[in-house]
Homo-oligomer: 201 residues x 2
DNA sequence: CAATATACTGTATATAATTACAGTAATTAT
DNA sequence: ATAATTACTGTAATTATATACAGTATATTG
């Protein structure tokens, strides 16, 4: 699936917004009006280009016959046990996927991570809970982050972060702080925790 | 909102199915074809009747301009502070609503209740969390329930329940058990907690 | 008993919408 | 260097669609 140009992305977003707002896709004229085109054909040609790149399907002869090809995009993966080594989002780690429901949890969540262990119980994060992780949300001191230290994935609170010293704290007195020197050990902050789901109480 | 006739319900379902399948509503001709009408006007008149009863809105001049009025049905209310006296689901208690996403939290949730206080922190239920409450899920000893005692709503664990003695326990050592005699005091178990959402960590 | 609602057929038309064809111009691949 | 892609304007025709008008027949409500 090729990348869309900036303009094409704009149009795809317009289509999605239109569907969200009104419940059905826009016409060529709607698109032209929204983006200031003077000819509906400008919209038509953009749509053809977007279809060619695989993001939509145009049903010929049907008014507003624009079908989104969102299936993968629409699902949020739930990551169970992370196998040592590979990337978190590797397919073998995906336990299941759940449909993205735009409004349910407002934050932008890239994946859910199933919590293992009791190291965060003091702030109400329990074993088997699902943590909503955002890769893009900015991590600062005090954030609960998903960190990978020497290929092991862990959820902790970020306490200190300088060039040669990173402190991660469990929210459970029985655990000690993890102090890492990123210049010596492998450390990656994979994302920060922005939401929590518990499926059984 | 009046009830739909059998035929009108059939048409409303057809519209919903069409949207689910293709992503946009059917035309009058589509409806006529699907149900075997020989005139698109049959569909038109049904649509007008369904609109009059408040289930859809027809946008004039727009092709496929059928908007579902599903808002109440499809939304799960989020209950903030419960005003003393009235029913939990009374309109003044509804803080917002969030769309029901069948697969996200599998259990059948009738409403979300925003948690006040710290009485359940030991099992990871914190202030401002949203608890998914099911009215129909069977409550048994050990369940976390939403109880109403003398018009005050509270979330506690059900410890004991006999005809003249109900024990509710906070999951926080600083609180004492609540012991109620339902024959003397007013007590209602409104539902049990089946899920939890936390929107910020 | 009359008025209204339900459930259609049948015809017709204005307009909404897709879509083809003919251009222009700048940018990006090959 | 040449072809393809991107990003449009402008026009026009065909088809898709909404929607009004004129009926028929049965059921329900006031």
């Amino acid at each position: 699936m090729k990348n869309l140009t900036k303009r094409q992305e704009e149009i795809l977003n317009l289509i999605k917004t239109h569907i969200l707002d009104l419940g059905f896709p826009p016409t060529r004229a709607d698109i032209a009006r929204s983006l200031g085109f003077k000819s509906p054909n400008a919209a038509e040609q953009h749509l053809r280009a977007i279809e060619k790149k695989g993001f939509i399907k145009i049903l010929s002869g049907a008014s507003r016959g624009i079908v989104l090809n969102d299936s993968e995009n629409d699902q949020i993966p739930v990551i169970g046990l992370v196998a040592a080594g590979g990337p978190i989002l590797a397919e073998e780690n995906v336990e299941k996927t759940i449909p993205r429901s735009n409004n349910l949890l407002s934050s932008d969540i890239d994946y859910y991570l199933r919590v293992k262990g009791d190291s965060m119980v003091d702030i109400g994060i329990f074993e088997e809970d699902l943590i909503g992780v955002s890769k893009s949300a900015n991590t600062k001191v005090g954030s609960v982050v998903v960190a990978r230290i020497n290929n092991e994935v862990t959820v902790k609170t970020l306490i200190e972060m300088t060039q040669n010293k990173v402190v991660l704290r469990a929210e459970n007195q029985e655990y000690e702080d993890i102090i890492v020197n990123p210049e010596v050990e492998e450390l990656a902050i994979e994302g920060s925790c922005v939401a929590l789901l518990r499926e059984s109480i």
